[in-house]
Amino acid sequence: MRMVILCLMMLTSYEVGAHEMTPTYPKLERSHVRGVYKSTLQIFNKRKDVEYYEIGVFDKKFKPIPFVTSYKVIHLKYLGHMTFDVYIREKDKRKAFYVCSRSKLRTESITKAAISSRICSKFK
């Protein structure tokens, strides 16, 4: 019976939205600009209710670290993949601990408890 319930939940879950970011442990490598390090990540949007994701770089205590990327808020359609680069100054390299993507939700006319998802990878 438990297996049946679990299978049903897993089957129904294919319809739900998902947010995914890889790799888990990205590497910071020298970029083509002197004194700037770069890391490449991928994001996948399987949430129908989300079209925008905000990128952030943080230290160990989740305080923001300055960084550059093509867009801090990425427009990513449903089932869209995107590869993006994050650039960090050499002086911030040691402090940079996490790179995160967070879903941005639209205001809708329903009284609900919506889910905002955030995935954080850790720099190696």
Binding site: I5, L6, M9, M10, S13, V16, G17, A18, H19, E20, M21, T22, P23, T24, Y25, K46, R47, D49, Y98, C100, L105, T107, E108, S109, I110, T111, K112, A113, A114, I115, S116, S117, R118, I119, C120, S121, K122
Partner: protein, 167 residues
């Protein structure tokens, strides 16, 4: 002699056109955490000053699923709402309570202790995802208007924050 050469050239041309092309499908398998919104919560309104996700009051708790493909690599932190992200103008201060609990796990043997081992601070519950597989977390929320004043008519949205953080 000329005919022989011509036949060879034509034969080679035909064989070149007849070659099958291969289209690669590339993929990489790597460790990851996937956050899925299994059920978006709904607030019920059992009386004029309460919004709640309790089923018996007409609400629906929010359910989030975490899929992890590498053991001991991620923490799941889930924070119940403590404010409305959108609402009409409110007449008083809202008191919030909320809680998260493990609803289901894909492997009870390796993930069975998630709920007992969780760390709670404020509205946030932190789980150490020590095994690979899927975990469903259920988050309930209760928002009570101060002074038993009525919620103004309109739509209300509050956010449950589900985070998957690499260890």
């Amino acid at each position: 002699m000329f005919n022989k050469t011509l036949i060879i050239v034509i034969g080679l041309t035909i064989s070149a056109f007849g070659q099958a092309e291969t289209v690669p499908i590339n993929g990489t398998v790597q460790s990851r955490c996937i956050i899925s919104t299994d059920t978006v919560g709904v607030y019920g309104n059992p009386n004029s000053y309460t919004l709640t996700t309790t089923l018996s009051d007409g609400g629906v708790p929010a359910v989030t699923r975490f899929d992890v493909t590498l053991a001991d690599a991620y923490y799941a932190t889930i924070t119940a709402p403590s404010e409305f992200s959108s609402s009409p103008s409110l007449p008083d201060v809202v008191t919030w309570t909320g809680d998260t609990e493990v609803q289901t796990v894909s492997n009870a043997t390796t993930m069975g202790a998630y709920e007992t081992n969780k760390i709670e601070y404020g509205m946030t519950d932190k789980y150490d995802l020590t095994a690979t597989g899927s975990t469903w977390f259920k988050t309930s929320s209760l928002a009570t208007m101060g002074g038993s004043k009525a919620y103004p008519g309109g739509s209300y949205t509050a956010l449950v924050l589900a985070e998957c953080i690499a260890q």
